[in-house]
Amino acid sequence: MGKPKVLIIDDEPLLVKSTCMALRISGLDARGAPDGLSGLKEAETWKPDIVLLDVMMPEMDGWQVLEQLQETPSLRNTPVVMFTAREYANGKQLARSHGAVDYVPKPFEPVSLIEVIRRYVSSTVPNPG
């Protein structure tokens, strides 16, 4: 079995680039997409094991991307974790009510992000500690 594949959809280029590199150093395969549309295309062709998705994006926001992912039969069962900078007090419930598995508020530590990924993809993801 290959490395678990993580797709990050976020319009913050520095965050995408650095998080992808941090995940790769930790033994994961990671790719980034700068907006919802290209993220959906990437998801369909690359078939990631998990998607990390930003809520606040121009054009298509994270909730719309999430809806599209759920409507695509081959991606329906891919776990999605929402990132957001907004002050959602009930972020986790909100993410779950939309069908995402979890929610990570920004700013986050790469280590805690890997912890969250481990919860939803196979046990082959390396332990951060």
């Binding site: 976020d10 913050e12 280029p13 520095l14 965050l15 995408v16 680039k17 650095s18 998080t19 590199m21 941090a22 150093i25 606040m56 900078a85 907004r86 002050e87 007090a89 009930n90 972020g91 986790k92 419930q93 508020p105 920004k106 700013p107 986050f108 530590e109 790469p110 280590v111 500690g129």
Partner: protein, 351 residues
């Protein structure tokens, strides 16, 4: 200076705040112009309909009754009257003729302050939103560069280490501000996910998380030891309890010499498990002790002057633990050390 009763009455009438004196059971003894203006009614109206009639709900009369009957000496409610937020601060006065006590209430228009609070919250929310993404990115970038560039000059490494340390601080500050924001908007309870967990698991995870941000010699696991009933199970939100313990243990480490161990002890009594974090450090001054759980409080001492912190950690931790139906308290003596007590509801069974 001698003042006649009439002069005093005129003086009270001209005050820029509303004044209302009530005797049990809700008999109006005195009311000034400003109070009538804030209540939006005439004196005749007030006399015929009674004081109760001026308020849309019974919070004001409950407060007055409580004070009149001796249940409390002072209280405060904010009520909405004619689109204004009116703060009513009541105090107990002289014993009344027919039993009970007179109640003096000061009424103030706090709409403007409320509006400013709202603006402050929106401002904070926007700022947090705009700077969080880039800082998160810079922080991760610095950590990736440090890990993936083994052969760089000492200068470059130092530059990267400093960038990493600075962004860690900013990241923590933003995290604290976000938690403060959530706590202040009264929504922190909605965020909690209460589950059962053994004390040991959450303590070990807190210590583990601290290893990444604190350089310590001897290593942290040699400075901190667990004792007591750590296999007991508590009801709590795992992440928030972990952060609470991190804040307290981090303080203990900062204020203790490296050769003095820090004890984390679990004690179970009836329906409660208390986690005690005990250090033999510098201690907290008596005058500061009552203020350590208030927001932005930082004791002025040599250690704090050299270490950066937001002064929010304990305030937020305290808010969370109370929402988990627990409590946090602290005992300290200068020169001897400090003990923090985090009490939580006990879950049945053990690990």
């Amino acid at each position: 200076m001698d003042v006649t009763f009439e002069q005093l009455g005129t003086f009270i009438d001209r005050l820029p705040v509303g004044v209302m004196v009530v005797e049990p059971p809700m008999d109006l003894k005195h009311v000034n112009e400003r109070a009538l203006e804030l209540l939006g009614i005439g004196i005749d109206h007030l006399l015929t309909d009674g004081v109760d009639g001026a308020f849309s709900d019974n919070r004001f009369s409950s407060m007055v009754n409580e004070i009149a009957s001796g249940g409390s000496d002072a209280a405060e409610v904010v009520v909405s009257i004619g689109g204004r937020s009116v703060q009513c601060s009541a105090r107990a006065g002289e014993p009344a003729d027919n039993g009970g006590r007179t109640v003096i209430t000061v009424l103030q228009d706090v709409s403007r302050i409320r509006q400013l609070d709202q603006i402050e919250r929106e401002f904070l929310s926007t700022i947090l939103q705009q700077i969080r993404g880039p800082i998160s990115g810079l922080h991760t970038a610095a950590s990736v560069l440090l890990e993936s560039l083994p052969d760089v000059s000492d200068d470059v490494r130092e530059l990267l280490s400093l960038s990493y340390r600075e962004t860690t601080h900013l990241n923590n500050l933003l995290g604290d501000l976000r938690d403060l924001f959530v706590a202040d908007t009264g929504k922190a309870a909605e965020e909690l996910e209460i589950e059962k967990m053994p004390v040991e698991r959450v303590v070990l995870r807190a210590v583990h998380a601290l290893r990444d941000s604190i350089e310590s010699e001897p290593p942290l696991h040699e400075r901190i030891y667990l004792s007591g009933e750590t296999r007991e199970v508590v009801y709590a939100d795992f992440e928030k309890l972990k952060t609470t313990l991190q804040v307290i243990i981090r303080n203990a480490l900062q204020y203790s010499p490296p050769d003095r161990p820090i004890e984390v002890r679990a004690v179970s009594l009836d329906d409660t498990v208390t986690i005690e974090i005990r250090d033999k450090g510098t201690g907290i001054r008596r005058e500061s002790l009552s203020r350590i759980f208030t927001r932005f409080f930082r004791e002025d001492n040599q250690i704090n002057r050299s270490q950066r912190g937001s002064g929010l950690g304990l305030y937020i931790a305290h808010t969370w633990v109370e929402l988990m139906n627990g409590s946090v308290s602290c005992e300290s003596e200068v020169g001897c050390g400090t003990v923090f007590y985090v009490s939580l509801p006990r879950g049945e069974g053990r690990q």
